[in-house]
Subunit: 435 residues, 2 copies
Amino acid sequence: MRSVNIGICGLGTVGAGVYNVLNRNSKQINSRANCDIVISQVGARRDNPNCDTADTDVSRDIFDVARNPDIDIVVELIGGTDVAFELVMLALENGKHVVTANKALIAMHGMEIFAAAESRGLIVAYEAAVAGGIPIIKALREGLAANRINWLAGIINGTTNFILSEMDSKGREFADVLTEAQEKGYAEADPTFDVEGIDAAHKLVIMASLAFAMPLNLDGIFTDGITKLEPQDVGYARELGYAIKHLGITRQTENGVELRVHPTLVPESCLIAGVNDVSNAVMVNADAVGTTLYYGPGAGSEPTASSVIADIVDVARTMGSAADSWVPALGCNSASLQQQTIMAIEDIDTSFYIRFAALDKPGVLSDITKIMADAGISIEAIIQREQPAGEDYVNVIILTNVTREKLLDAAVENIEQLETVRGNVSFIRVEHLDQ
Amino acid sequence: MRSVNIGICGLGTVGAGVYNVLNRNSKQINSRANCDIVISQVGARRDNPNCDTADTDVSRDIFDVARNPDIDIVVELIGGTDVAFELVMLALENGKHVVTANKALIAMHGMEIFAAAESRGLIVAYEAAVAGGIPIIKALREGLAANRINWLAGIINGTTNFILSEMDSKGREFADVLTEAQEKGYAEADPTFDVEGIDAAHKLVIMASLAFAMPLNLDGIFTDGITKLEPQDVGYARELGYAIKHLGITRQTENGVELRVHPTLVPESCLIAGVNDVSNAVMVNADAVGTTLYYGPGAGSEPTASSVIADIVDVARTMGSAADSWVPALGCNSASLQQQTIMAIEDIDTSFYIRFAALDKPGVLSDITKIMADAGISIEAIIQREQPAGEDYVNVIILTNVTREKLLDAAVENIEQLETVRGNVSFIRVEHLDQ
């Protein structure tokens, strides 16, 4: 069998996973790739105690790997966007195919990278960039190739899902669970990327491009994190039959494409409501197949390695063929990609959960329901609950039917101006994910 | 762009779906395939009112399609195993690639078909043969290529899942729901293939071959249907925190491969327990990635067409390349396929739910627990429930820990011989699907 030489850049958590799994399962992997996959070189600033590279040529300069004339595929696992971009472009200039797990890199520089690869007749593969070990890129690019995709919604950040699962099952506060997640290694010391939804936004943009044949573009995406979520909302949601999940959602509408990351109430009967802890899941709704769901570990050493190696196998098996037999980087040929309007969040139609404190006396609910009716918003459920402190104010929780967000914004403003209402109205979007 | 000509044989539910989706989404599909996919001919004994073939060459003889010199890919959607086998072999003899949705054909004649294709440098693709619209074959062959698969368990027959969901949610009897399923078109007039697990067995054998690199072989598979399931067991299972699902399970053990289709208790906390109605789902546990799950519609016109067309796109895009760049039919090169011992059901280790009627008097439970203890079986839970009729006998329900089935068989025989026990002991296997 012919040999294909790969160079692994980065020997952190994922790099070590790729190195170890490739060695452990080499017989099966080579049989699936129809060739011998050989780790010719590793580029890493330092060794990883989880990974015995004694028999491998290790360079302390990752750029050595991109220049190494023996290497066919450069595997970029260093993370970040500056050096990683430089490395990937250098690898392409030197005629190497590229496999990467780097969502930020693809979301931000994907178009430039894919163009460089296409012009040189090279492949850039990035299955591990979205949802860790779940083969969701392959499902979107190939498995669902017959379909027009209507929408997709995913739990695509394990850290936030772990935090929400703990808040839900144990009634804990956000800050408290975050500290535990950091101690367990599920969250970074600076958790902003995860808890503010930036990481999810990167992944969502990649999936939206694949779903709707758009160039990769982070502009216009709406991102809201989970830092302001309160345990009481998680509890009230459960009372109403919903779980709160941090979802990335993208949908094709007549007015453009919705592209948004935010906490979302989803019905308990929906399969994705049962996806807990650090797991990820992506629901895809498409015209021919209907709704499918893909579930698995969204991060971790060997789960991510599983996706990286799947890409290596695909590239190794097909790299000798003509470029037009390869799966195009964004699923369709690059000439077909077309930018669409990304809708402003206030123009999006969805249902809402809203909560506020109101005086517990006659006439208050009537004021509120009148405001909603005047705004043309119908109410699906309304409940009142005593506040924990047992004050004169009660919590009012309303579930609306589908409405335009700008109408809800106006109604919220009017509710906040009522003398019988104290403080702000908080709201969370609701998705039924059923059509 | 180059053109690829396909011929569709069979214009039933799936054939019409393929024809319609290919026409409706042709722009997207061609862009993904990097070529123009043209329906050159349809072979069908009769027209389908759901499908307007006025602009297409339709032959009443499907074999015309397999002989048509213009056609590159024959799409076999006639079902059955005799004529379909003849058709596929004739298509291969005439140098055509083949796409099929036919699980029985692949499970029974796959090795002969794949060998004929390989010797002629042709592709046979069969994504739609397992789990309808879910791209599970692609996940197993490509997405999880890095992994050694430990086990997989799937709800792979929509009819039985619909019946079980109705029995569960509404406490209905099997026969009653079956009649409704037949009226709704979810079940055939002769439902044997579905409710006895034969259809699921075909699909399981295909997935087991992919998972464990074994030749396709139906010998040795254990198959039990759902016809004897009683609503009371569904109810008791719920009391204990379990749902009853009809699963196809295959597992690699030190003693060989488990290959079995039967009703199974699964914990409610397990995602697959929430898969209801005609939906399908497959859980796969593998060494690198851990557990992933794939969910979607297991049958139906356009869901199945989605998978058929995904195969057509793959074949059309890659058919001009060298055969060693193709994904091998069973995931690894055919020389690596190796038969393994298929374990007899009595040698399998699992947990059990058992139920029987016992006299409601002191000492009875002590006799039973002694039998279990003597057999080396530990008990996880034991509950007694009055029988509906309010007799002297009560229902005793026991959940065991993991034990070898032959030990359970012996214990069951001893329990049945107790004078205080009436009638037979019924049992259902329990799987926790957590490792």
